[in-house]
């Protein structure tokens, strides 16, 4: 069963072509990493998949249903969730409220103005559970903007994966800017929280990529030059040349 399918996806801004015919099939439950040099179009690809940008040509399917041209909130309601390269949370709201807001839609409270949040026991219990999982339970009531950087990244992962309906998770450089120990913790967190879900991750840290991914795609100048298992990618000559040569000795 295919979770996400891209067929000949193109994106250009004016005359500059950023994505040049990307085709990709990611089966359900796979942890898939996208790597590539700076400016290869990795974040653009995420923005296309999540509906943040409109596709110039080609189409995208989520769980067998077309999502091309849909607005982000509709794609999200179909079970795709994402994080951002630059930390993207609700800075003025408390940590708990950040998580809770991510639960209203998937738990069916949507635009309700007739329920009292504090009485929604199921939502609150779930939010507390997620806070425990992301190790922020003791930061529950402080504004998210006051968290340390690594904690904010963890909070964003929590927001991204909060809803039970989330089947496909896109993480854009989740460990960027983290120390070694923080990265280790974040990888464990991602591994446990995406259990049974499909994960697509853009990452620069090769140890994270080879540690986490079932398969890897290499994106160079808007085209996928290889999609394979971590071992084969490591040995692939084209990849070596395009990208890895300098980093993996």
């Amino acid at each position: 069963m295919t979770a996400l399918k891209l067929v000949d996806v193109h994106k250009s801004f004016g005359t500059s072509k950023i994505i040049n015919g990307v085709s990709l099939e990611i089966p359900k439950g796979e942890r898939h990493a996208i790597i590539g040099p700076n400016g290869a179009g990795k974040s653009t690809l995420f923005n296309l998949i999540s509906g943040f940008y409109e596709v110039s040509r080609g189409y995208i399917e989520l769980n067998g249903r077309g999502i091309t041209g849909r607005p982000p909130h509709r794609i999200n309601r179909r079970g795709l969730s994402r994080s951002f390269q630059v930390t993207n949370i609700f800075p003025k709201m408390t940590v708990f409220e950040n998580i809770r807001c991510a639960l209203f839609w998937p738990m069916g409270y949507r635009y309700s103005f007739w329920h009292m949040c504090d009485r929604l026991k199921n939502v609150n219990r779930k939010a507390e559970e997620i806070l425990e999982t992301i190790n922020l339970a003791d930061r529950r009531d402080i504004p998210a903007a006051m968290l340390a950087y690594a904690e904010q990244r963890e909070l964003e992962i929590g927001i991204t994966i909060a809803g039970d309906n989330t089947e496909v998770v896109l993480l854009d450089e989740p460990t960027a800017g983290m120390s070694l120990s923080e990265t280790k913790r974040a990888v464990e967190l991602i591994r446990s929280m995406t259990e049974g879900k499909t994960l697509i991750v853009v990452e620069h840290d090769m140890s994270v990529v080879f540690d986490l991914a079932d398969r890897i795609s290499v994106l160079v100048y808007g085209e996928i030059v290889a999609t394979d298992s971590p071992e084969n990618i490591r040995q692939n000559a084209e990849v070596q040349e395009a990208y890895l040569g300098k980093e993996i000795a």
Binding site: S50, F104, Y111, F113, W114
Partner: protein, 415 residues
């Protein structure tokens, strides 16, 4: 029992205060002022649903206040002509009419927040104000619409001939509206409105269409503004096209901002203070708008979180029991501030007297003293007061800063 008292105590106290206030301040002037405050509180809180909770800076919120008011005014006339509705619920009709308008204008203007929303709100405000004169059937043309609120059908048995009866009607509606608006902040929509305010992009990836969230918040806000307008109609029995215009729109913005957008109770304080200033200052000095403007500019520059922000800033100090240290410093700065203010005031008043009064040569009076505005003594005195006041104000600022630092240190040490 104790738990309930803690939860509902403040509402009970507010209800008691609303009941007692007009018995203590029982002059016609005071009751009219209290009535106006009640209306302003609903209006300002409804405005803060947009600005504070939803991140939408509107320059045309009076559209809903005015439209609600006009519809309620017509409704009073319909009731007078035999429509079997009690007068007490007519503000609700104003609110419902505002909901219909809010849905339309809300959907049109909320695709983006920020500058786009602000400019569209300005446009809608102008549009309605302009159409007011083109649609005399609804807006009554130049002279507006009037009605007689003393109708046959009432729920309470009040005849509404006396101001105090109207006041109690306003107070009841105000308590209901304040409670409802407070509860709305506690609902999923209320929280998600905050989320959309903080980060609409992220809100899309937790499933929300920012435009729908904003439109709903906008419409609910219009509902309460419409109720406030309905109460206006009952209170004054006449409403003109000015009510939908830019002046009340600007007024409610200033009330909300002076009170503070960051806390629920901020706009309540802003509404009370500004209404009080408008009514009482206007009777004391012609220059009241200037003082009001100075207050507004001052708040924006030095206390952008408003009165509520100033109060909440002191909450941790109060809890730590260190308030007395700050109060001493505030006492020190109060004296030069007062001197400075009196100096500025004399200068403003003599200038106003010279340029705006019918006969500038006539003596003017200030603080019970009568003097000529041209006399050099007044000018020299005011300039000396300003100079001395400013000098010591700067000195006292350091005292305040020092004691704040001291208090902050002590609180850190305690924690």
């Amino acid at each position: 029992m104790k738990r309930y008292l803690k939860q509902y105590g403040i509402w009970l106290a507010a209800a008691v205060a609303c009941t007692i206030l007009p018995l203590v301040f029982n002059s016609g002037f005071a009751i009219s002022m209290l009535s106006q405050m009640g209306i302003a509180i609903i209006f300002a809180l409804s405005y803060n649903m947009l600005l504070g909770h939803g991140g939408m800076l509107s320059f045309g919120h009076a559209v809903f206040y005015g439209l609600g008011g006009f519809l309620a005014m017509h409704a009073i006339n319909w009731v007078g002509d035999g429509l079997p509705l009690p007068l007490e619920i007519l503000p609700l009709l104003g609110g419902l009419f505002a909901v219909v308008c809010g849905l339309i204008f809300g959907w049109l203007s909320t695709d983006r927040a920020g500058t786009t929303f602000a400019l569209i709100s300005l446009g809608i405000g102008e549009l309605i104000a302009a159409s007011a004169l083109m649609l005399p059937g609804f807006f009554g043309g130049e002279e507006g619409v009037s009605a007689n609120r003393m109708v046959e059908t009432t729920l309470t048995g009040f005849k509404f001939g006396r101001g105090i009866e109207v006041y109690y009607l306003i107070a009841a509606w105000m308590l209901i509206c304040v409670a409802l608006m407070y509860l709305l902040t506690k609902t999923p929509l209320g929280r998600v409105a905050n989320a959309v305010r903080d980060n609409p992009e992220r809100a899309a990836f937790i499933g929300y269409n920012a435009r729908v969230v904003r439109t709903m918040q906008y419409t609910l806000s219009a509902f309460f503004a419409g109720i406030a307008g309905g109460l206006f109609a009952i209170t004054y029995e006449i409403i003109t096209a000015e009510t939908v215009g830019a002046i009340p729109s600007g007024n409610v913005l200033m009330m909300t901002y002076i009170g503070g957008v960051g806390h629920f109770f901020g706009p309540i304080m802003g509404a009370v203070l500004v209404t009080m200033m408008q009514i009482s200052l206007a009777g004391i000095t012609h220059a009241w708008l200037l003082y009001f403007g100075l207050l507004f500019v001052g708040m924006i520059l030095w206390a952008p979180n408003g009165l509520a922000g100033i109060i909440m800033m002191h909450e941790p100090v109060w809890k730590a029991g260190l308030m007395s240290r700050l109060l001493r410093a505030y006492g020190v700065i109060a004296i030069p501030t007062l001197v400075l203010f009196i100096g500025v005031m004399i200068l403003i008043e003599i200038n106003y007297h010279l340029s705006l009064s019918v006969n500038p040569d006539e003596p003017m009076s200030l603080f019970g003293m009568t003097f000529h505005a041209q006399s050099p003594v007044a000018w020299i005195l005011s300039i000396v007061l300003i100079a001395v006041g400013f000098f010591f104000f700067r000195k006292a600022q350091q005292v305040v800063r020092d004691s704040w630092n001291e208090v902050t240190q002590l609180m850190k040490g305690g924690a």
